[in-house]
Amino acid sequence: MNGDYACCEGALSAGCRFFAGYPITPATEVAERMSRRLPALGGIYIQMEDELGSMAAVLGASWGGVKSMTSTSGPGFSLMMENIGLGICTETPCVVCNVQRAGPSTGLPTLVGQGDMMQARWGSHGHYEIIALAPSSPQEMFDFTIRAFNLSEKYRIPVIILADEVVGHMTERVMIPPEKEIKLVERRKPKVPPGDYLPYHPDPDWVAPMANCGDGYRIHVTGLTHDERGYPGMDEQTQAQMVNRLIQKIVSNADDIIRTENIYMDDAEVVVVAYGISARSAKQAVREARAGGLRAGLIKLETVWPFPEKLIRDVAARVRAFIMPEINAGQMVLELQRCAGGACPVQLISHFGGSIIHPRTILDAIENAAASKGYVKNKDVEARQAFRRSYRRRQ
C-alpha cells in the first residue's frame, strides 16, 4: 500500500467520516481512496471548488461532530492557511495531511520537498502553537494519521501531517491492526447543562470541553478574539487570555505530544536529527557509521511541532555534533541550533528538493564530524569502559 492510501486507511480507522478536498499532486491518492471508501462507511466525500473551501468545510463538519480531514500539497496548503487559522482560534479538531512537494509556488509538483516545515508552524497569521507530525514510511502514514486524529480531538486543534512526495507514493507493507487494538481519543463533552456551559473555559490541562452543533448548547463560535463564553472581546486582556490558552495547551502538554525515535543514542557522539523521508536516509547512514566503528546516533522527530526542545538541550550538552539533513535550504535546523544553544556545533545537510538525500551524503558528514579533533573511536571507548567496569568491580 502506498503512503497516501495508508493515510486514508489510518484516518478511517481513527473514525474519520468526512473528507473535503481538492485534487493536487502528490496528495490526490488520499482523496481518491477516500472517495471510494467513505460512502460505504456512511461518510461523506466532497470534492470542493478549491482548498479554501475544503478547509472551511472540514471545520464545519468537525463542528457538526464528525471527525474530518483534508489532504493537500504546498500550493493548496498555502490556500488552507486562512482557515487553519480559524481552526486554531476556534479550537476545532481536524487533520490536514500535507504531502509536500518542492516549492516555492508550483515548484516541482511530482517531486519531493520538505519546504513547508516553517509554514506549518506559523503560516497562518497571528501567534499560535501547532501540532505537526512527520511520517517517514507508509506504515507511519497509517499510524501517525490515527495519532493525528487523537491529538486533534484531545487538544482541540488542527493537526498537520507533514508527509512528502516520496513517503506518499512509496509502496510498502502496511500492517493494519485489528480494530479493538487501535486506541482512539474522542473530544471531551461538556458535563454541565446548556445554561452553565462556557465554551472556552478550560479544564486544568488548558483544553475546554467541546459542545457540537445541534447538541442543544447553542454555542457561538467566532474567529474574533473571544472570551470564555465565546463572545467577541475587543480588548487586550481578552486577547492575552485567549492567545495564552492557545499556546499553553500545547506547550504545557508538550511531553505528551512530542515523540521521537532515538537510535543508538546511549553512547552517541555525533547525532543526526532528521524527520520524514530524510530520517530514513539518516538511519541508513547512522547504521553504516556504526558498522565503521563511529559512535553515531539518530534522533528521528516523529513530532516536528512542537519541537523537542528539552531533549535537544539535554543531548547537546553531551554530544560532539548535530547533523540535520533536510530537503530545503535549512528550516528545522534553525530550531535545532536555537535549542543546542551553542553547546555543540550544528551542521546542515541541505538539499533543495527533487530527490531525497543520499545516505552517503549524511555518512560523509558523520565521518567529517568524527574526524575532527579529539574524537574517540568506538574501540577505544569500549576499552575505556571495560577498564572502568573492572575498576568498579575491584572496589
Binding site: 473535503a20 460512502p39 461523506i44 473551501g53 463538519a61 463542528w63 445541534g214 454555542i219 457561538h220
Partner: protein, 298 residues
Amino acid sequence: MTNKKATKALPPHPMEALLRSERLPHIWCAGCGIGTVFSSVIAAVQKSGYDPDKTAVVSGIGCTARMAGYIRLDSFHTTHGRAIAFATGLKLARPEIKVLVVSGDGDLLAIGGNHFIHAARRNIDITVICVNNLNYGMTGGQLAPSTPFGAKTTSSVSGCPEEPFNFCYLASACGSVYVARWTTLHTRRITNSITEAMQKRGFTFVEILTPCPTSFGRRNKMGTALDTLKFYHERSVILNDIDPRDAPVDFGSKIVVGKFVDKERPTFIDNYQLVCKTDIGDWPDFDGTAVSGSQATR
C-alpha cells in the same frame, strides 16, 4: 449606574428566546437595515417551526456577518467569504440540522463567489440570506460587486467604473431552487420569503436590498436611511415569477423585487445516496435512463 438600573427595569425583549440579549447593544449604525433583516430572520426561524436546537447560522465577515453573534442558535462567525463552504461541511456532516447562511454581498459574492456558485450547483441544502447594502460597509464604504455603475465609494471617488452583478440571476443560473429579492421595506415579505426558503430542500437564496446611510448613502446623495426607504418605496416593483435576468437592480428606473424561482431539484445528499447505492461501475448511465430528478429523490 442609573443606566444599568434603567436597563434592568425594561421588560424582556419580545424575541428574547432567540436573541443573545446580553450582547446588546449591537454594532450596527443608526438607520442600517441589517437590524430589520435580523428581526425577519429570527421571526422566520420561529415561524418555520424548526427546532432551534437543530438550527444553525453561519456567517462570514462584515457588518451582516455579525448577526451570528446576536442570535441564540448554534452560530458560526467564520472567515471572509467562506461561510457557504463552512456551512457545506456542517450540513453534510449533520443533515438533520437546518443551516442558514447570513452575510453581506461582498462576503458572499465577491470573495466568496466561488463557493456560492458551486454550492448552488451542487444544491447543498442551505438557505443563503444576502444583505445587499451596495458597498463594503464595515471597512468604510469601498466598492463592491453590487455597487451601481457610477456610484461614489471611498475606493471610487469619481464613480464606480464597474457594472454590478445581478445576484438573483446568478443564483438562478447556478441552479438555486428558490430565489427572491426584497428591500428592507418589505419586512413581512422578507420574513415569509425566508420561512419559505427554509422549508424548501436545496440551495435557496434571498437577497435583501438594505440602506447603508453611513457608508454608502451619504456619498451618493441618498439622504437619511428614511429617504433611502422612501426611494425603495417609490422605485420598487414586485414582479413575481419573472426570469431574474429581466430583474436587474437599476436605480435609474426601477428596482424589481419578488420571488423569481421556486422549483425542485435533488440535493447533493439525494444524489450522493443515489449514486453511492448504485454500483459505481454502472455510472454514468449511457443507455438513455440518465439520473433524473424523480429518480434522485426517491
